[in-house]
Amino acid sequence: MALYEGIALIQEKQAVVLDLGTDYTKFGFTGEAAPRCIVRSEFWCPATRRYRRLHDYRSAAELYDNLVHMLHQLYFRHVLVNPKERKVVVVESLLTPTLFRETLAKVLFIHYEVSGVVWADSPRLCALTLGAPAVLVVSIGAKDVEVAAVVHSCVVLHALQSQPLGARAVHAELARLLDEHNGGPLHLDDQVIEDIKVKTCFVTSRARAAQWSSGRPPQPAALPGLRARLAAELRHLVTQPPYCDTLHVREFKFHDAPAAPNACAWLGGAVLGAGEAGAGRVLARDQYAREPRLRDWVCLLDNTPPAHPHRAYLDI
């Protein structure tokens, strides 16, 4: 055991991978095949005596508080390690608000004193779990569905698509149908609706959906039959104008990621953080101390090409 301890001392501490979703948070260690915990993104607030959702905030200070509480719970209840002097891989959407990213960076670097953070976007991480050179990542989250093409680990940002048709859309529709059937508002708990959704909902086949013929919204979320329906819809749509004239793709193939669908991006983070590849892309604490800003694809400081005439004026 003594030898083992010695190795542990020399080795760098195993980094953690953090994926703060709207509904569920995935948290675990790099190099592992599955997150240690998938928990609801909420924490017990003793002042108001109820659970508080991480993403319910009105100001940066409130978000800072929320993140401190959430991370405390994750580190000391679920993963049981010291946050200090440990690297973090943050899995984030490309459309994460800047306020959220910057506040998270502040919480991690200042409050929890982590040694470094790797910021990684979920489409690229999903592609990383496949190893395939060119993939189209359709990620169906709680709020939004994001479609991003990843070619050789580069996201085609101009082709990024997002629609608010995530699990919440199913949720709202289910609540509406139940209320309608009841003849009045039921005020069902979120958990109850989630339970109904997870136990009974599925995505019906295209043929049956055509018979319904009402303009109901498409049904997202990782429900049984979703892939089959998606494939059927795509194969149907390419035969219809305008796609049949402009899009010369007739084949649609689907990948199977080596992870549960809700932890796919997380697994990408775990794979990225395990090797030296992650170490090279880390934003170290002292670097953040010198210049507390994050690289972002929307920021002109980061996305001006080197040959661009404006580049000369930028102090980079």
Partner: protein, 489 residues
């Protein structure tokens, strides 16, 4: 008890600006400042199982993925599973008499077999086909992640790529500075080849890394997708057979969708935490190692060092009016305490400490300047909380006796009362104060008053080697009193 069951009527302002009741505050005896859970550093101290109260060294906990090896949770309702014993008749060898064999009845003793059962929801390990175990604890089949092999391939592949990336970088650097210096490198002198150097450095040889890249098969996309089963439209839904979301997420590796795939969950360990002051790195609390003990080795709670303020009662607060306020002050320390009530704005700003002028210190400071961690200061709440009322602080210094546990038993209150002091009893003191409310206070709004306390504190930390530190200090703290709501008339 009042602190557990009732709302926090009296809140202290922590040195970081947070408002907290005295029971959730710490007091650093080295910085002489109040600290709270927000501005201290939490650390994992020891791992233990909350069910069997067994300690686990942290290295072992890491190996076992923070799970207890002998306790299990119910996968259905998350209650702790119990081990049940049954007498099992060992299976007798049935021989066919027609085959001419003599039927031997094996006279084996019935064997004790164990299975796991939940006393809350009646789930048992037999429900999902886990065979009974011959030993009471441990030996339960462990499942491996179905994707483990593929994930390991991925890890190896990306490790190899990272290595290649690194080597290419080194290669490029070398090309950049290709001028051989006058120094003989190690490889020249000893005739070490690159492969050997890599071997010495513990890096895998270049062949193996390239083989990992070559042998990697990217995920193959498939045209066919899993169709929705046809009978889904006709089969009756049995909700008891489908797992709920919490049941699925309790085992993130498998996430079973059917109840028949639920497996016992090894109990997650808990940790004892120790707390450390961020400013001086001293421990504020340190728990005892024994998981069964709830005591602390170090316990610097504000409750033991800072005068406690409680509201006995108060008159309703009216806009522009005066109302009486009865406060109880308690001295929790073992020394006599001099106490004064002040207005919050009368607290003198913390004086800058004169740094001892030594070379080492100035060197240290210049080094710190170089690092420049000023932007890494924790977030502090600077604006004081809004108060609708002011407490008319009496211009008198009150003396509170030290805490004396024996004094609990004599119940005759001392009667040196005056117009401010209502009564006095050992280390406690009741004050009659007046609260002035602002004219513009809106009716129905929450009424609150800020009052500052100046108190003397005797530091009992053994002084550092021969340093003549002052033992008596004058400290300040600010308290926010919750006075209900402003009455509207």
């Amino acid at each position: 008890m009042a602190y557990l069951t009732q709302p926090d009527y009296v809140k202290y302002i922590c040195s970081c600006g947070q408002l907290k009741p005295i029971t959730s505050l710490y007091f650093c005896r080295h910085c002489l400042k109040i600290r709270c859970g927000f501005c201290i550093c939490h650390e994992v101290d020891s791992h233990y199982c909350a069910n069997c109260l067994e300690n686990m060294p942290s290295s072992e906990a890491r190996l076992k993925k923070n799970r207890c090896s002998s306790c299990f949770d119910c996968p259905s309702c998350f209650h702790t599973l119990s081990t049940r014993a049954t007498m099992a008749q060992p299976r007798q060898v049935v021989q066919d008499p027609a085959a001419g064999g003599d039927t031997k009845v094996e006279s084996k003793q019935p064997k004790k077999m164990y299975y796991l059962s939940c006393f809350n929801c009646r789930w048992t390990s037999r429900d999902v086909g886990i065979p009974d175990q011959p030993v009471a604890s441990g030996g339960w089949p462990e499942r491996t992640n179905p994707h483990a092999a593929r994930v390991n391939q991925l890890l190896e592949y990306y490790k190899a790529i990272a290595l290649q990336e690194k080597q290419e970088k080194i290669e490029r650097e070398r090309k950049k500075f290709n001028i051989r210096g006058k120094y003989i490198t190690l490889t020249d002198k000893t005739g070490l080849t690159g492969a050997m150097a890599r071997n010495i450095a513990g890096l895998p040889s270049s062949e193996s890394s390239s083989s990992a890249i070559a042998s990697f098969v990217p995920s193959q996309a498939k045209e066919e997708v899993e169709e929705l089963p046809e009978d889904i439209f006709t089969k009756e839904v049995n909700l008891n057979q489908i797992t709920s979301m919490p049941q699925r997420l309790a085992s993130p590796e498998w996430q079973p969708s059917s109840v028949s795939r639920l497996h016992p969950l090894a109990k997650l360990l808990s940790v004892k935490r120790s707390q450390r002051c961020r400013a001086c790195d001293h421990n504020l609390t340190k728990p005892e190692y024994n998981p069964g003990s709830i005591k602390f080795k170090i316990e610097l709670l504000a409750y033991y060092h800072v005068p406690e303020v409680k509201i006995i009662s108060h008159e309703p607060v009216k806009p522009g009016g005066k109302s009486a306020l009865l406060l109880k002050l308690t001295n929790p320390t073992g020394h006599e305490m001099q106490l004064r009530l002040l207005q919050p704005e009368d607290i003198p700003p913390p004086e800058e400490k004169e740094e001892p002028k030594s070379i080492e210190k100035s060197l240290e400071r210049s080094l710190n300047l170089e690092k420049d961690t000023s932007s890494l200061k924790p977030m502090e709440v600077v604006c004081p909380p809004a108060a609708t009322s002011r407490v008319r602080a009496p211009d008198a210094t009150l003396t509170l006796a030290q805490r004396d546990d024996a004094a609990e038993y004599d119940d005759d209150a001392q009667h040196d009362t005056n117009d401010i002091i209502m009564w006095r009893k050992s280390n406690k003191l009741a004050l009659r104060l007046e609260v002035e409310t602002a004219e513009g206070a809106a009716g129905g709004a929450a009424a609150a008053a800020l009052v500052a306390l100046q108190y003397s504190y005797r530091n009992t930390v053994p002084p550092a080697a021969a340093a003549a530190q002052p033992r008596d200090h004058t400290l300040y703290t600010t308290v926010l009193l919750d006075l209900g709501t402003v009455s509207s008339n």
